[in-house]
């Protein structure tokens, strides 16, 4: 078991059994470490090939190979090397991979090395060593914070034509390939009693404690190696090395079925009520994901309790030229040496204001690296073995063009000393990683004793914080806090347990004297290294009154880079406090917002990409329509046949005209299943519909259908359809395709919230029935061949607006409605959906002798426009029954949703818009939906606007293009010739105002 576990998840300590003897395999490689020494991996950086080991990051491997220069800064293109060993890295950003997988701005410090890794430096031209844009650095004195707000204003046109294009070209960091990402992403959902965020000593101890108590535990860490700082330090836990203890803990956790260990998983945000977002990097450590496997997974974690054990981040000290490649955080240098067996250079100096910095010196010396000096700002700095100590001293400058060569030190006695060093390990103290505590209402509080902000205020619901994230920096304190935190969290869930015996571990106190920046020196001391924000910029912001933290941030861009100021915000804040003569807490902190580290679009989209972006709904006749070569169109989530091209038809209009004419002349068939169908039952069903519809339904006889108009409470028409009464207490209501969900929701609102005692039951049956419109003079003849003979559907027995339950095709139950959208003699016939495919084939077969055609949504649209029926374009959410010419339908005799407010004066103006039809004066002119209406003469302007055309089509029946739309006082302007203007496309035509009922205005056909 243990072995299996050791080889799973993490790179085990010396798992390859080697002695770890590999000193000098790469120029800066040391012995030991937690990397696998067995086989070397090959990778390239800027086209040059290097070797590293499994367990390396790109950063550690580059350092091992003696590469310090890894990037260029955003603004001045200063040469930069790696500053940190974690996700807080501001400098070492690269373009990883290539083609569709090209990944800009990837931190070399978290990019796991794999064989064949390809990385390139970014934001430089032509090369990292010789970056032309570094010219900016020469002019840095002109390009201070916010300089661009004060210039580039004259002449006005130049900003967009000259300055901005140059700036945009120069700006940005990495680039994308513009190819589609070939990888798949996934999403998932997890539930737990306790979510442990971070798997350092605190998190592991918490997970062990909770796991042993039987709780459902998830422990996640952004690193591929669990253990946090234990992997970077030399001190042990109990009688084991830190790393060995981690391995033991991981083995025990892996053996617990109630614990889920998630390495390579970053908790990106703390959302309401214990929900956390987590991104698991499944395949980023290999060349490419296995087929079908995701690159990353977004997990939504539902936690009852969460413990933040995210550790702390070291902060630098600002001094002149503190940004040269080789200047690094002390803890990072130590991590590279202990975990990755790498030293950034053979000679290293240390600059610190606290004891922790001394550990770096000690560990390097132990590994045989020459430490040329330990510079400690504290006069009472502790002794150092094996290196020269300068107590009460400061680094005031550094030299080395593309890499550090030496540091100039101001000694306590005032003299200066130049210390040779290829790397300078800087420690300004540690900041607890409070980020997730701020994602809601938490506001950190200042703790003087550790000179850092710790979590405070209103933490996210059910979150606790432990260990270094809470300001407890020693290993012993971390283990204790983890165990006790878990016990406390579980007891809130009613799971009682004990902390148990904790292993022995170092318990050194934090010994730090706040020191933020070296005041000496005319040059630039860097705070935000990626955005090139210096101490001077902060001073300027103060001078110009950008003094609130947010103003400082926004004016100088401090902390707005890809690292979100994880290493820089604190320094800027401290300096602003000093300038303002305030205490740091008075100045406050900027907001930390999700995500904790940046997350890819791909993983947030998951599987919802391409054609699967949203579900696709198919009609019962879809398969048949495909066979007919139908052209489909998206209608909401539905795919509907738009038209059915026939051999020889070269233009869609030919197909649509044919479908319309054949339907009007003989018979056509259309799948209308997509219309919403809601089954309404109960003693009060009729009374309920009276409330829902503007017009009356109580007296609708059984076996009859009635058109109904639905208003919103504000009196605007929002949907229409029919209600068929199958029994005293049973109706079937239809809605438009677009509003099916909305109408059902609103009816439930009325049923549950407005009329809770009505005896009404609702349920959708939209998908249960395959429904086909059979329209045209031969509709009845056709149907009589399909409907079983015992059912008389003659005009007398089954008149217009009749409905009933019948059987077809020898016993298949069906519903028949005598309703017409086309204006022809028409029926809608419904059969159980599974028979829909067979039914359309049956209908077409039966219609053969009449030359029956299938028609699609285009022909449907043409025929409804010819009849002047309102549809989506007319029910646009701003039109009332009055506008639609249905004002009289709104019953004043009963209460119904919308009738009271529909009486407001503004909705009943003299010249209110009315739905009318439009015919081109010149028959060849196309009427266009979206054209605005203007009087025959007079100016064309918004002020003279008379209305607009909502729907238009070519009417093969009338042989010209027609339209319907809304015209001021339209109903009283029939016969008037006006203009339909479309300046957008440079068109203007004369149209005659006519009735919207172009075809068979008396409606004789549909009654025939």
């Amino acid at each position: 078991m243990t072995d299996a576990v050791m080889n799973a998840g993490r790179v085990a300590f010396q798992a390859d059994g080697s002695t770890g003897a590999r000193k000098g395999v790469q120029v800066n490689r040391l012995d030991g470490g937690l990397i696998k020494g067995s086989k070397a991996l090959t990778f390239t950086f800027d086209g040059k090939s290097y070797k590293g080991f499994e367990g390396d990051t790109l950063a550690s491997a580059l350092l091992a190979n003696g590469v310090r220069l890894m990037g260029r800064s955003f603004k001045y293109h200063r040469p930069r090397g790696v500053l940190t060993s974690g996700s807080e890295e501001p400098n070492a950003l690269v373009e990883l991979r290539s083609g569709g997988r090209q990944e800009p701005n990837t931190r070399a410090t978290v990019a796991e090395l794999y064989d064949g890794l390809e990385a390139n430096s970014q934001n430089r031209w032509p090369s990292l060593q010789h970056d032309f844009m570094a010219i900016n650095d020469r002019f840095s004195n002109f390009l201070t914070a916010g300089f661009y707000y004060k210039t580039f204003m004259w002449p006005a046109a130049f900003w967009e034509k000259l300055y901005e294009p140059i700036i945009r070209k120069a700006a940005g960091l990495g680039s994308i390939s513009f190819e589609a990402d070939p990888d798949a992403y996934d999403k998932g959902f997890l539930h737990c009693d306790l979510l442990v965020i971070g798997a350092g000593p605190t998190g592991l101890m918490a997970a062990l404690t909770a796991g042993r108590a039987g709780a459902q535990v998830i422990i996640a860490d952004e690193d591929f190696l669990l253990g946090g700082r234990l992997n970077a330090e030399t001190f042990g836990v109990g009688d084991l090395t830190g790393a060995a203890w981690v391995e033991q803990a991981q083995a025990e956790l892996a053996a617990m079925p109630n614990v889920r260990v998630m390495p390579r998983t970053t908790i990106i945000g703390a959302f309401d009520h214990g929900i956390y977002g987590a991104v698991e990097r499944v395949s980023d450590h290999v060349l490419a994901p296995e087929a079908g496997k995701p690159r990353q997974i977004l997990w939504r974690i539902y936690s009852k309790r969460a413990m933040l054990a995210a550790g702390a981040t070291e902060r630098p000290i600002a001094f002149e030229n503190n940004d040269r490649p080789g200047v690094m955080l002390a803890g990072a240098v130590r991590a590279y040496a202990n975990r990755w067996a790498v030293t950034p250079d053979q000679t290293v100096a240390v600059f610190t204001n606290n004891d922790d910095g001394h550990r770096t010196a000690a560990d390097l010396i132990a590994k045989g690296v020459k430490v040329t000096a330990v510079i400690d700002t504290r006069p009472d700095a502790p002794k150092v073995e094996g290196a020269e100590l300068f107590a009460g001293a400061q680094v005031i400058d550094t030299k080395g063009r593309l890499g550090l060569e030496w540091a100039r030190v101001r000694l306590a006695n005032g003299t200066t000393r130049d210390v040779p060093c290829g790397a300078l390990a800087v420690s300004g103290g540690w900041n607890p990683n409070v980020h997730l505590t701020c994602h809601q209402r938490g506001r950190p509080a200042w703790r003087e004793d550790i000179a850092a902000f710790v979590p405070a205020g209103e933490l996210p619901q059910n979150m606790s914080v432990a260990g270094a994230a809470n300001g407890d920096f020693s290993t012993a304190a971390a283990l204790r806090a983890g165990a006790e935190g878990a016990v406390a969290a579980l007891s809130e869930l009613g799971i009682e347990t004990k902390a148990g015996d904790l292993p022995e571990a170092e318990d050194a106190p934090v010994n730090v004297t706040p020191f933020w920046y070296v005041k000496e020196g005319k040059g630039r001391a860097w705070l935000d290294q990626q955005n090139d924000v210096t101490v001077k910029d902060v001073k300027l912001a103060h001078q110009e009154n950008f003094r609130s933290v947010e103003h400082l941030k926004r004016y100088t861009t401090l902390g707005m880079a890809t690292d979100q100021g994880k290493t820089s915000n604190m320094g800027g804040l401290a300096i602003m406090a000093e300038l303002a003569g305030k205490q740091i807490p008075e100045v406050g902190t900027t907001m930390f917002r999700p995500p904790y580290t940046p997350v890819s679009f791909g993983v947030m989209a998951g599987r919802s990409v391409g054609e699967e972006f949203r579900p696709t709904r198919k009609t019962p006749s879809h398969k048949w329509a495909e066979e007919q070569g139908a052209v489909f169109v998206e209608v909401g989530q539905w795919l509907r046949a738009q038209w059915f091209p026939k051999a020889g038809e070269t233009h869609w209009r030919q197909s649509v005209d044919r479908e319309v004419l054949q339907t009007r002349n003989s018979v056509g068939i259309c799948d209308v299943t997509t219309l919403g169908k809601i089954d309404v039952q109960g003693k009060d069903a009729a009374e309920f519909l009276n409330k829902i519809y503007a017009n009356a339904f109580a007296k609708l006889p059984v076996g009859k259908v009635r058109y109904g108009l639905m208003l919103r409470e504000d009196g605007i028409a929002y949907d229409d359809g029919t209600a068929a009464r199958f029994a005293e207490d049973h109706f079937v209501v239809t809605t438009t395709t677009a509003n099916a969900v909305l109408v059902y929701r609103n009816m439930e609102f009325a049923r549950q919230c407005l009329f809770p005692d009505m005896d009404v039951q609702l349920i959708s049956t939209t998908e249960a029935w395959a429904q086909f419109a059979v329209a045209g003079p031969n509709a009845r003849k056709l149907l009589q061949k399909v409907v079983d003979p015992e059912f008389d559907i003659s005009n007398e027995a089954f008149p217009f607006m009749g409905c009933g339950e019948i059987t077809v095709a020898g016993g298949c139950r069906a519903r028949l409605f005598r309703i017409s959208f086309s204006g022809e003699l028409a029926y809608e016939i419904a059969v159980p959906t599974r028979y829909g495919d067979a039914m359309i084939r049956k209908l077409m077969e039966a219609g053969e002798e009449f030359g029956a055609v299938p028609y699609g949504t285009e022909a449907l649209g043409v025929m409804r426009i010819e009849k002047g029926h309102a549809a989506g374009n007319e029910l646009n959410g701003t039109t009332s029954a009055l506008n639609l010419g249905m004002g009289k339908m709104v019953s004043k005799k009963k209460d119904c949703i919308g009738n009271t407010l529909s009486e407001r004066e503004g909705m009943n103006q003299e010249d209110a818009l009315k739905l009318v039809g439009f015919k081109p004066v010149n028959a060849a002119d196309p009427v266009q939906a979206g054209a605005h209406l203007m009087n025959a003469d007079g100016e064309v302007s918004a002020a003279t606007d008379q209305g607009y055309i909502t729907s238009a089509a070519y009417s093969p029946v009338l042989g010209c293009s027609i339209g319907i739309g809304f015209l001021k006082s339209g109903d009283s302007r029939k016969g008037e010739v006006i203009r339909a203007v479309n300046p957008l496309e440079g068109k203007e035509i004369q149209v005659e105002v006519v009735s919207a009922h172009f075809v068979d205005p008396e409606g004789e056909r549909l009654r025939g």
Binding site: F271, I275, C753
Partner: protein
């Protein structure tokens, strides 16, 4: 967010559709002589409190219950969840 459904227990708010202030239950009498004013206030005016807010959520991807959720609009803390139908009856709505 998590809404503690009175029948189903904790459910992700993503399953719900939000409407707004629970006062929308109190639809005025259409025959009141100042019905127009009452309907105006009912439909258009809101307390919009920064704090406790009683509001209507529809469990559309669930059991299709309308719920009245009492939620703090500043902290998003949810203090109470009731079936809207019960609330409506308690407020005297019937047919």
């Amino acid at each position: 967010m998590i809404i503690n459904h009175p029948i189903l227990g904790p459910r992700d708010s993503q399953e719900f559709t939000y409407l707004g202030d629970a006062a929308l239950i109190d639809r005025p009498d259409w025959q009141a002589e100042n019905a127009a004013d009452q309907f105006h206030d009912y439909l258009y005016l809101r307390d919009n409190p920064a704090g406790e807010h009683r509001e209507l959520w529809f469990h559309e991807q669930g059991d299709r219950s309308w719920l009245v959720v009492t939620r703090n609009t500043v902290t998003h803390e949810i203090l109470n969840v009731e079936l809207a139908r019960d609330v409506a009856r308690a407020r005297g709505r019937s047919k």
